[in-house]
Amino acid sequence: MARRLLVVAYVAAAGIALVFLLLPIAAIFARTSPAHLLDQLSNPVVRDAFVISIKTTVIAQVLILVFGTPLAFLLASRRFRGRALAVTLVELPLVLPPAVAGIGLLAAFGRLGLLGSSLNAVGVTLPFTQTAVIVAVAYVASPLYIRQAVAAFEATDPNLAAASRTLGAGPARTFFRVILPLARGGLIAGLALSFARGLGEFGATIMFAGSLQKVTQTLPLAIYAEFAVNFNATLAMSGVLVLISIVLLAGLHLGLSWQRSDSTRSPFFFGPSSSA
């Protein structure tokens, strides 16, 4: 009898946890019909925010990929003094409260910031521009990609790179033909994570770039701005973000399963996820 009660309590607890996680998402769609969702996409506030969000996040991801990949490879393949410290510092923006990240960006790149006057001298003003949105997104989202990429590069068997060299390939060919394809799953997973984080960016963006419609107002900022004005619009925008998130989640898992099947070494390391 006691045993049956325990089983019931166990199943109930698991069920409540699952419902709790899914209910808010279900509620968004319960209150927006697909027709209504499409209808709201012609709302200029929604449309502008959507375009700005996708544009800034995509550009930020490209920057993260181009600058983050070499850093990740360096951290994964070289042993040097202070490496452990460097790996930890890279993760700092991940745990930083977003508002603090925003202040930091202002203090560094703002008009009166550390690099502000130098930027001014070459005619660049960052704060409250679309470029500022990209900078804020890249700042908070890049650690997710970099740490995942470090783990992916570390999981590739160094003997495969060594074999490539003895077979006549130089370092560049070895990287593009052997290391990159083997790490690809982990890199895609990292990209999906950092894309999701970037798309949801709120705190640092509003501090550093503001929330100007048509300029810096991304979907999360627009949701906040429209919240009291047009609740239906916020539901539609949330619906859009949920759909994108589902695609990103699928990408994350696809990447992780690739990494697992390609990795010839230890199972893929997937660290604790961040609070966004």
Partner: protein, 346 residues
């Protein structure tokens, strides 16, 4: 045939210094316990690790010395890794083509893996993987072939067949081959010359049969499969073993010595032998292990090897006492075995 020359190469490893000079102008096996620095030697030749000092050259072409070090891709060297290091994301054909474009077919045919051309390494058996690794290494048309524990990744069943295959291949190749293994039997089967390496230093170099006939020290003796009996020699051909047994040897010696006795020089019998010139150990059989058609029995301090047929004829079983005898000429006196320092890493 070209000659690979390792001249006074030195490299500080974790617990000892690797230091050796070795000429390779045929198939040479570097044998030693794990952690002796064997793999490091191959990495130095391949250019994956740079020695602190010394020189590696193939004929007149210097690969590394004090001034310069050619990167691995500029040395024509074939290295077959212990786990083969096949690229898992490429097919067998792509793996071979990685070493040389447009010539894969010849090598796939030669190594009888043409039917596996489109398979991925993950789908292959151990023996097939090794053939792919060899095909890939040789497709580079190397001046020197390096094999790291070529048989260690195979199960016992495949090993015998692959060893015979590999032996034939190495005999055909007209380039110096340096292979490393921890198994003396594999080394003896594959190589014309065997060098024993312990803690980064060469202990002895010679043909396999010479190493067995005249082991330079107790380590080489035990490595080549001999039993070691420690005792004290008084200047005659008698050695008093530590357990009190008196053993006759062929050569006079003095002081603490080890006697090397090979398992196949020991005869087993259920009755005491009549020949009083024989050394006899009377002890119970500790264990019986079958190795193909031979059987290895542990008797007191020694192990003896007899045929499965003899085992059946004598009716020997574990736990029963037996007479193990060997001639004085079946013993070799070597310097006493020093316990090897615990070593780590390669």
């Amino acid at each position: 045939m070209a000659t690979l020359r390792l001249d006074e190469i030195a490299l500080l490893l974790r617990s000892f210094e690797l230091r050796l000079t070795l000429d390779v102008d045929r198939t040479v096996a570097l044998v030693g316990p794990s952690g002796a620095g064997k793999t490091t030697v191959l990495r130095i030749v391949a250019g994956l690790t740079r020695p602190h000092s010394g020189r590696v050259a193939v004929d007149d072409e210097i690969w590394v010395d004090r001034e310069r070090a050619l990167p691995p891709e500029r040395r024509r060297v074939g290295l077959v890794f212990q786990e083969y290091a096949l690229f898992p994301h490429m097919t067998v054909r792509q793996n071979v083509e990685y070493a040389r474009r447009h010539a894969a077919d010849d090598y796939l045919e030669r190594f009888r893996i043409a039917q596996l051309a489109d398979a991925r390494p993950g789908e292959l058996s151990g023996g097939e993987r090794q053939r792919v690794a060899l095909a890939r290494a040789l497709a580079r048309d190397p001046q020197v072939l390096l094999l790291d524990e070529p048989l260690a990744a195979l199960d016992a069943h495949t090993k015998t067949a692959v060893r015979a295959e590999l032996h034939d291949l190495l005999a055909e190749l007209e380039i110096p081959v340096l292979l490393v293994t921890h198994d003396f039997e594999d080394a003896a089967a594959l190589a014309e010359q065997v060098s024993v390496i312990v803690d980064g230093r060469l202990r002895q170099t010679g043909t396999p049969s010479r190493l067995v006939a005249e082991p330079a020290d107790a380590f080489v003796a035990s490595f080549t499969g001999a039993n070691l009996l420690n005792g004290y020699a008084d200047g005659t051909t008698r050695v008093r073993l530590d357990d009190g047994t008196l053993v006759a040897t062929a050569d006079p010696a003095r002081g603490r010595v080890s006697l090397a006795v090979y398992p196949w020089d020991i005869t087993l019998a259920t009755e005491p032998p009549h020949d009083s010139a024989l050394n006899v150990i009377h002890a119970p059989i500790r264990s019986v292990a079958e190795l193909g058609n031979r059987v290895r029995l542990a008797v007191g301090p020694v192990s003896a090897e007899i045929t499965a047929e003899s085992l059946a004829r004598l009716g020997l079983r574990a736990g029963e006492p037996v007479y193990a005898s060997f001639k004085a000429t079946g013993t070799r006196v070597v310097a006493e075995h020093e316990p090897a320092a615990p070593s780590a890493g390669t």
